[in-house]
Symmetry: D3
Subunit: 281 residues, 6 copies
């Protein structure tokens, strides 16, 4: 498969895992810190993978040994044209402009959540601020033992606004813990992240974590893509709705999806004791 080349990301297709895409943030010399062009590109990548018939699951990691990402590139954001830069407008006009910027930034990161295919984040080393916003927009998180997470925004005078405060309480059920890390900005490591359920698994090194995430992504990629896409959609829908609403939406969703040939393919392969294969989406 030939794919477009991206400027700030590597997008590869590990040959040993059919239908798995690997997205890598590629600005290691700056600890993979983000500036505007990067989140626009991130969004474009996930929108493309979302509907690509050759992709059934995705892992997202950071290049280099030191950081998944150090978060927002504060220097770039504070430049005259940046998000936090100066402005001659009155506070109301400035607020309207700011709101457009935040909406756009949020929308880029939300592309990970709205991507039809499951996304697994592999965090390692420095994983601060925007690293959390990105992680909670994904479906599953794993990390290496050396990871250093923090909801860092409070330390630059801001409430985190690109998704952390909205999604973290829905990813980790212990609300007191969520409050503590968001209000103090303190770091937490791999063991704590695993104990509260922020990550699903801890690996010894970044390399092992990437390998483990690819295994998991590969396992998902061998399932019926109709079932996988539906499972992600219905879980995300249910997180945000009453049980009553969740059940109703599910009936409508599955009224079409049950008509897939994948059910027969799966049942038949079960009888024949072999691995099923499924058509592309």
């Amino acid at each position: 498969m030939t794919t477009p080349t991206y400027k700030h990301f590597n997008v590869t297709y590990p040959p040993e895992h059919q239908y798995v895409a690997h997205v890598e943030i590629n600005r290691p010399e700056k600890l993979n810190a983000f500036f505007e062009e990067m989140w626009l590109e991130l969004s474009s990548i996930f929108n493309t993978l979302s509907t690509s018939p050759s992709v059934r699951s995705i892992i997202l990691s950071g290049a280099g040994p030191r950081a998944f990402t150090a978060g927002l590139d504060v220097k770039a954001a504070s430049s005259p044209s940046g998000l936090l830069g100066p402005s001659p407008l009155d506070p109301a006009r400035k607020a309207l402009h700011m709101r457009r910027h935040i909406l756009s930034f949020q929308s880029c990161i939300s592309a990970i959540e709205s991507c039809e295919k499951p996304v697994i984040v592999v965090a390692h080393g420095i994983s601060l601020g925007l690293a959390i916003d990105i992680s909670v927009a994904a479906d599953i998180r794993v990390c290496s033992a050396d990871v250093r997470f923090a909801v860092k925004e409070v330390d630059i005078g801001l409430a985190a606004d690109i998704g952390t405060l909205t999604r973290l309480p829905k990813v980790v059920g212990q609300f007191g813990w969520v409050k503590e890390v968001a209000l103090t900005g303190r770091e937490f490591g791999a063991a704590e992240a695993e104990r509260v359920g922020f990550v699903n698994r801890v690996f010894g090194s970044k390399e092992e974590a990437v390998a483990g995430a690819l295994e998991l992504a590969g396992l998902i990629a061998r399932k019926s893509p109709v079932a996988v896409v539906g499972t992600k959609e219905l879980l995300n829908y249910s997180r945000d709705h009453t049980v009553e609403e969740g059940l109703r939406y599910t009936t409508v969703w599955n009224s079409a999806m049950v008509q897939t040939k994948d059910v027969q393919a799966a049942l038949l392969s079960g009888i024949e004791k072999r691995k099923p294969t499924f058509e592309k989406l």
Copy 2:
């Protein structure tokens, strides 16, 4: 108390635990797998127990040593008249029919949740697919050490649609874990289930688990039934609503319920250092 006899379930009233009903799925030769007649009967049982004045709490288990339930009887579902059977209709008409079937199926399992009295599920051995849908519709789950749970639907090409994807994220607060088990269909055992809070307790054997569940049910059955019914209702309501809405609903609920004689009965027995008894509902 004489009770109706059911075809696929045993419903008994253990004499040592007043006001406790024990519902047992009784198709052990097929690993308690479900076909349509069974979920209709299940619904009828829980609707009856819901308003029975002699019942204050319920446990639900599976007959035989091997399985709580292996889930949907896929063979029956794939028969010409079954849920997954062939159909000559166009996809839209087929979808309308399918939606009616799913609505009806969901509604039967939801009878466990809408049952006014608390329900404790005892899982053991094979507990796959529909076993999870049933478990999450209950209030409390315990299991034996040999349990093998899995959100199995993905392996037959389907997104689970009878409640698992809707209720599991509200039963287990670790959303990443929920995503993983739902997207991979992998098994998880008693220890993992306890760690994430899917079950409240693990017992050594099925027999101990049933005994332990009966103890717990008996403890609940000795409380004021007005308070117990209200507690279940308000917790389920609150799960699905904002704090603001939850508080408002609570005021209206308790404006009547505080008028129960059980409060005086409880306070008096407290002063007199004896166990209170409460009138039937």
Copy 3:
């Protein structure tokens, strides 16, 4: 700072932690049990602290060695003029009056949640009934090793209506555990409370717990107050809304809040390697 004197509470400002207020329930001879005058005063205290420019975080504890609080003073509540006292009205009129009382009581305890500044509860010893309603209205909970928690209302014939049933499922993600403790009224101790995430940390003694809470409150108080107030507001909003709604509300909130001078102050002090200081709210 001179402050008003309260009748049933001590409100102090520990000199070693600037901007931290310490609220202490002060009726140790009755195990800090609450009657109406007390919850009205509690509400008044938190409404005042909410907008006080000298306060950036708050801890709430109970005076005396034996109890954080034994909950509702049932004797007072059962007196002729009390919440549970007799009434000559018909059940509908009685219900309308009861509803007004519950609304008012709820609103007083909710003052802890609606307080703009984070609140840390320090529980020790007896912590029953209303102790839980109060704790879950706070942001963070710590306790001493001797704590004895229980959702006790079921034992006096009532469904807990001052916030426990509404907020506890949003504080602890393991819904089966929440159901169990609410339906049985059984006690749970420090270790269990920590395991399920009800408390953030357990300390050896009440004194250590208060000291630890003050440390934590002090850490929060040294952050930008604009960021801290926003973080609390956005986390509470997000708990109760869909991700979509949470993100939208966040954009509007931050469109003004990003205009704070605290961002520059924080960035500058970061460059200068010193602690930032922030203006009063």
Copy 4:
């Protein structure tokens, strides 16, 4: 088509309007007033018609010249076994029983709304109390010039609880008018009902109104049944949800429904300048 015979209703299939069912309340000697057996039967009728392949739209009218329905048969309801009858229970237990009754009663009337096919109510003469609850559960209302509507419940000391207070504000957009008629119980006639949009059309006599409703039902019955069922479902869904939610649900619904052969049938008949015919649901 042979159909079951009902005790309190006539269900007929006017030969001149294929696919139209006519349900008639048939207790004219008591002004079509309802007792429990009747609303259970009403529910059973609409549940059956909902999935009957031979029915695409329904009209509902009252037998006899004097009344659509005088509402609840208060005498029956006040009898010892009735909804408003005496009871030896304490107010809390009585409330729990009452709630079950109201839920069941509501659910029966809601069968009109949850019926997949559109329902047109034809009101004439006395149309009080429950007449409004029934009317607002339908999709379209027409009436004769002699109609006398009233939200009568306030005059027997009750807030209307079978749907009027819930649905009327969603049927008539003028909330002040809704408040007035619900708080005063005053009658309103055909002209006023038409002006505020409570009815779609006024006819000179009951006979003309029935004929007009049949015309309208016939027109609907000649459309694609897939499109008609979807239109009712999506309009009811949208009434209760945000625009965002409504659009999302619509995409899922139509992802299956657009696959109907009716689209091709309709387009082809358009080209061929003839009336399309559509397969049964």
Copy 5:
């Protein structure tokens, strides 16, 4: 009945209408324009009337011949201590202060909506800006022929924030009309207000309007107060919720309210062909 005296309002009890209170804005020399002290007093009045056993319905009008109210006293609001006055704070801190002010102001006007008893607004002459916020918080609106309404806020550079933009779309069903009057600030008169349903009735003069409103209030005051309070509560709840939610809340509400003696009183007086009387709330 002796009642407190208010500074900016007259509160009277017209002897010919038992249980009706008449609240009159009393600053005619300034066209009844509001400053902060006034809305605090308004709130206090409606909170008192809400639970007063002697009050079952309320009318609200403006003193003097010229205006119901000219809205916010802009001069007072622009003073150094006013809502729109200057401030040395940074825009974020200023926003936090502003938000507290708006919350408090909104809460005062919402006292009309949260008042348990129905409120009828009588508008005449100049009725601008805040006049609309107040009117839409009431249940029913009538006016005199000379009324001049306008959603005036846009003309001073503001989006109306005390309730108009939130409640007007729920009071008038024609959303295009709502948009037009809110975006242009143009005046609309009595006939237009009646046509779109903003007012229930137009009277020739202010005196006739007050008399007509008192008649209507008197009619409501002669109904069962349990039924009236419930009807207001359930209509407001339903406006803001799905039909499903509205029905559920209604069952809980009426499970207590049906137990009122007013039902028997109403039924008995119906049999005896006389006007029922009902006990105080």
Copy 6:
């Protein structure tokens, strides 16, 4: 101002109305019927105008004397590559593709609603199907006397899915009327549209309608753009939320927006009896 040229639309800036943009659908030879390229372009236009500092209000009309728009170009949609074209996929995969198409189509039309500036639709002549979806996404609708509206989708076997079924019940408060026109597909003219509030005003001819819409747009464009943008946002938000939520969102919105210089500009010009002018957004 130089502006981009569009292929299927004319976008002009009438010199007599500063800050007003006029968007004209420009495919008169096909009755302005839409194919995919057109709705993508429409979206791009409104996204651009949304943030253009030179635009404060917008009118949208159709070129040529015969039609605002005849709706979807069914011929194009039925072509092999079109929305309704044939497909070799199984029904589930086809449904997933279809859903993506509908989402994209909806999102393009929703650009009218999410455009920050108010949009006025001018309908004339043939205005079918998609004409309604477009109209209800706008803020205000006017029409000429010759207009022929219809919710036409039911006649091609479809439930309208680009916004009509979702938004029409929120634009017109008479739900029975909405049901009737959506279920029958019947035409309605200018007088009926005005009576139910679908349009704000009827003009004699298309030319007069365009002129009238420009007048209205010009009036809005002379108001404070901060106030206008806020009014549109808050009205749309409130339409979809409870009063409680609407008020809360409003406080946050206005906490920044009240800080605009437009308030002082408006107040000053009021004192000086002249028209205020406002800075660009």
